[in-house]
């Protein structure tokens, strides 16, 4: 026999069960949502820490290698140093007693950090001095090399002379790349 009190208690229990289930479900959803947010934040923090670590490593690397990089950069010609470079080359020719004129200057676009500056010189002078000049070109303290030579030798027994052209190829650093 089910009394009214029993029914009330049963219905109350049922309502309590449903309410509790709904509250539990809501709590579960809340925990899930907050958990997902926590994961996102945790990942952002980890990314930030990783970036900070990377930045610190890079900063340390930049500082510790500054001297070497500065020295190395002096061996690479830049556009603003081109005029000085040509003046130096002409000065070398004067020192060697060679008549030298610049025939052409051409910047060849390249992929990567460097363009190429191709300079053609006409030279005329004593064979030994011209040879020394070529040797000087080959040992220029820049990332450069003698790419072509065309000489005519006057093979006189005394004071032989040489005239011709020298093509010098110099790497040119582009800062905006």
């Amino acid at each position: 026999m089910i009394t009214r009190k029993t029914k009330v208690v049963g219905i109350g229990a049922l309502v309590f069960l449903v309410t509790t289930s709904i509250v539990l479900f809501a709590m579960w959803r809340y925990v899930e949502t907050k958990g997902a947010e926590l994961l996102d934040h945790s990942k952002e923090i980890a990314d930030h820490q990783a970036r900070q670590q990377t930045y610190s490593d890079l900063e340390e690397l930049v500082n510790s290698t500054k001297d070497a990089r500065d020295e190395l950069s002096t061996y690479v010609l830049t556009e603003d140093k081109t005029i000085d470079f040509l003046a130096t080359v002409e000065q070398v020719a004067i020192e060697q007693g060679i008549v030298m004129t610049t025939n052409s200057l051409e910047v060849v676009e390249q992929e990567g950090l460097f363009n190429t500056l191709v300079i053609s010189f006409s030279v005329e002078g004593a064979t030994e001095r011209v040879d020394t000049m070529v040797h000087i070109f080959e040992t220029l303290p820049y990332h450069a090399f003698v790419s072509d030579i065309l000489f005519s030798y006057d093979q006189k027994p005394v004071n032989p002379t040489t005239e011709g052209t020298i093509e010098l190829t110099v790497s040119l650093l582009q800062y905006d790349r």
Partner: protein
């Protein structure tokens, strides 16, 4: 289960409204079920977020490699080259001044006296080949 409880022993109507042992048993059983379900739920949450502190950051920016050995090699090469360059500039070969004057010959007129030589690119020795 409730139906079963209410309609139990229909041949012998149960006149007792309260069955303490049964209600306690049911209560304890439900308590155990709730505790186990809660434990499972909590364990799931725990496992899900247990490794949160081990999350690894991902840096998408490419970090340039600094090759110290290559830099050192290049520095040594260019130091030696600079030294040689300075030595060459320092020594000027003694040749009579007429070297700078025209010899009166040209490539065309040199003829048998002259030897024309052409070096093709890459044939030069001693120079640094750009890479």
């Amino acid at each position: 289960m409730v139906t079963d409880v209410f309609h139990r022993s229909q041949g012998y109507p149960d006149r007792q409204l309260l069955h303490p042992q049964r209600e306690w048993g049911i209560g304890v059983l439900m308590f155990i079920v709730v505790v186990m379900a809660g434990s499972a739920f909590v364990a799931t949450i725990f496992v899900q977020y247990r490794d949160l502190s081990l999350a690894q950051g991902n840096v998408e920016e490419s970090i340039p490699q600094y090759r110290a050995v290559i830099v050192q090699d290049a520095l040594e090469l260019y130091r030696a080259r600079t030294e040689e360059y300075q030595q060459l500039r320092g020594e000027v070969i003694s040749v009579p001044d007429e070297t700078t004057s025209s010899t009166g010959t040209s490539t065309d007129s040199i003829g048998s006296e002259a030897e024309e030589r052409t070096r093709v690119p890459g044939e030069v020795t001693g120079g640094l080949q750009a890479e």
